[in-house]
């Protein structure tokens, strides 16, 4: 199945945020928005939930810290106990720095790879930019036309109120593209 989409291009971030908010308020389905930089306030306008990647980071960090603490304890007091200056085998305070570094390393790599996984970013992927200038100076709002709430005239009028530069209708059949944006394909 394919989707008919309306691509509205803007020149300024405040127009984009205004149009996105208005579109969402009238019940239109916002497929995605493409911007050259992280526009603050856009996630609120689109109604995106806070990212759950923070949990990935927390779990990875805890795994790193606890795993390394266990490993240090195991090597120093179980596998091969070595008497270093008469210090106790399980000298916890001196295990903290390395456990901390392991936590940071695992949390950092874990959240970055989780980001790559969730956003389907991988080397060799062909970028499907909706318009060539979205990585330069254009903001594109993509609205689902097949949605019941879509009224072509009213939508156009609304977009013009926000100084839309260009609107374009496009049919997209790429299945992965939809799956990523939680649309049925």
């Amino acid at each position: 199945m394919s989707h008919r989409l309306l691509l509205a291009t803007f020149e300024h971030e405040d127009d984009l945020i205004g149009a996105t908010t208005a579109a969402r308020r009238t019940g239109l389905r916002i497929v995605d928005v493409f911007t050259p930089y992280a526009v603050h306030g856009l996630e609120r306008a689109m109604g995106l939930r806070p990212s759950r990647l923070t949990w990935v980071c927390f779990v990875c960090g805890m795994t790193g810290a606890l795993g390394m603490l266990w490993f240090e304890h195991w090597t120093a007091s179980i596998s091969w106990p070595v008497n270093v200056g008469g210090k106790p085998w399980n000298s916890l305070p001196s295990d903290i720095p390395v456990a901390f570094e392991a936590a940071v390393l695992l949390a950092g790599f874990g959240s970055v790879f989780a980001l790559f996984g969730v956003s389907r970013l991988f080397p060799g992927k062909t970028a499907r930019t909706v318009a060539p200038r979205t990585t330069d100076d254009r903001f594109v709002l993509v609205i689902d036309e097949t949605d019941a709430a879509f009224d072509a005239d009213r939508v156009r009028e609304m977009l013009e109120g926000f100084d839309v530069v260009e609107t374009e209708e496009r049919v997209i059949t790429d299945r992965t593209w939809f799956r990523q944006r939680r649309l049925s394909s």
């Binding site: 091969w80 970055v112 930019t129 100076d137």
Partner: protein, 480 residues
């Protein structure tokens, strides 16, 4: 509303730029053929690197008996240079992570090159302890891996081992932080370049980035997490470096002031290096509109404050020695200021404490040649600080019969020169192959709002559009 948008603050970028102007201005220097000045700098750096490679090869083949170390002074140029280079790296993380958490928008102009600098500086730092191990080819013995010697594990109680973990984590996390920041900019370069090698390479490295707001939303979350992780990391790294000294029982090293003193010194020297590099880069790459006098002035103020902290630490060290009642501690500090290496000590005090006081004057902070001179002197001073800490504490042993002197050999000096060669060669190549300024971040922080006259939004919508209020007062954005 962030205060960077307020009209009372000077604009972050000058020259009335539009979004596409920003893309063009930052990408053009790396798309053009390199200038003569770049080639000259590159040849000098590559020559220094060659000298270093030859010296490293010679000492690997012959052994570190080629160094001027002796039984009393067991650490000299090697560890001085190690601490010097690790310290340089710290400003990169300060600017990219700590200032990010503090919402300092001016950081966007310098964070990319500061992060690159971190990466190269940590690489340079790594060379010295690796060679000092003696049998460098067995360096992997510092990692805990199952082996046929027992397995015999590493000693997790030793600060030197903590250093192995701290420095390698720091290198890896800095590299990831830098790369994650580069992804959207690589996509920008990809979309504006013609089919060819540059487009192929940036397509692979930008991982199919398409600017989707969903991805940006997650990306911002991860960037914040990385900044949050890198901030305690950077403090831990130099804290652990200082513990290499502080946990020993050498007078002059065995002190609890070392962790904060080292971290402040590291950031101080790193800021000096960032200023040195940015003052050259903005001129050579014509980025005067992005790295403005305001940026230079703010970095100068940071450098001044760090210099004051370092000066305070020097004073505290002397006070603690006097107050401790420990004759060895008192002797070491008297010897530092008045002994055979007093020249190094007073160079350090002059460069790190006296000279930066000039930065209290606004006219000095806004004079590029003066700031450049001060930054160079701070670099020199901070190198001497490490030399003073290491060599003056060692060369007068508890037993006067073991007292010795330390003079670096030509091999040690050549290795040091080579590390500068490596650093500048890497930095010059970086300026040619990647955007030297974070394009997407500058666009986001520039506050390019719409011209008030162009607004035709009904009151209801404008109430929900952040930035509208500032748009009434902000400088009009140039229309491309």
């Amino acid at each position: 509303m962030s205060d960077a948008d307020a009209p009372l603050r000077p604009p972050l970028i000058t020259g009335d730029k539009s979004l596409s102007d920003i893309t063009r201005d930052i990408c053009v220097p790396m798309e053009r053929k390199p200038t003569g000045l770049w080639w000259a700098a590159f040849l000098v750096s590559a020559a220094a690197l060659t000298v270093g490679v030859a010296a490293v090869w010679y000492q690997l083949v012959t052994g570190i008996g080629t160094w001027g170390l002796n039984r009393t002074v067991g650490w000299g140029f090697d560890i001085t240079n190690f601490v010097f280079w690790v310290g340089i790296g710290h400003a990169g993380t300060l600017i990219s992570a700590v200032l990010f958490l503090f919402r300092q928008k001016w950081r966007t102009a310098v964070n990319r090159s500061a992060e690159a600098m971190t990466l190269f500086a940590v690489m340079c730092a790594g060379i010295f302890p690796l060679i000092h191990m003696g049998r460098t080819w067995l360096a992997y013995w510092t990692l805990p891996y199952p082996n046929t010697r027992g397995p015999l594990w590493v000693n997790f109680r030793s600060p030197l081992l903590w250093d192995v973990f701290a420095i390698s984590t720091y290198l890896l996390i800095s590299a990831v932080f830098w790369y994650v920041g580069l992804i959207p900019d690589l996509a920008t370069v990809r979309d504006r370049s013609q089919p060819g090698l540059r487009r192929r390479v940036t397509s692979i490295l930008s991982l199919g980035w398409d600017g989707s707001a969903r991805t940006w939303h997650r990306y911002e979350t991860v960037y914040m997490l990385l900044a949050g992780l890198a901030t305690p990391l950077v403090f831990s790294v130099h804290t652990i470096v200082s513990m290499d000294f502080a946990t020993s029982v050498i007078p002059g090293w065995h002190t609890t002031i070392f962790p904060p003193y080292f971290v402040a010194g590291a950031i101080f020297s790193g800021l000096a290096m960032v200023l040195t590099l940015m003052l050259i880069a903005r001129r050579v790459m014509h980025l005067e509109d992005y790295v403005t006098l305001t940026h230079i002035e703010r970095m100068s103020l940071l450098m001044l404050s760090m210099g004051c902290i370092v000066g305070f630490a020097y004073g505290t060290e002397f006070f603690m020695a006097a107050y401790s009642g420990n004759p060895y501690e008192q002797f070491v500090f008297k010897n530092r200021a008045l002994g055979p290496l007093s020249g190094a000590y007073w160079t350090m005090v002059t460069c790190n404490v006296v000279v930066p006081q000039l930065l209290w004057f606004r006219s000095v902070r806004r004079s590029l040649p003066l700031v450049f001179m001060i930054a160079i002197l701070v670099n020199v001073g901070m190198w001497f600080e490490r030399f003073v800490i290491i060599v003056t504490s060692l060369h007068r042993d508890f037993l006067p019969s073991s007292w010795a002197h330390y003079i670096p050999t030509s091999i040690e000096i050549a290795t040091f020169v080579g590390s500068f060669g490596l650093f500048f060669t890497c930095f010059l190549i970086f300026c040619r192959i990647a955007p030297a300024i974070a394009i997407a971040e500058v666009k986001g922080a520039a506050g390019l709002k719409k011209r008030p006259a162009m607004r035709r939004v009904d009151a209801q919508s404008s109430a929900v559009a952040p930035g509208t209020v500032a748009a009434e007062t902000a400088k009009p954005a140039g229309v491309s």
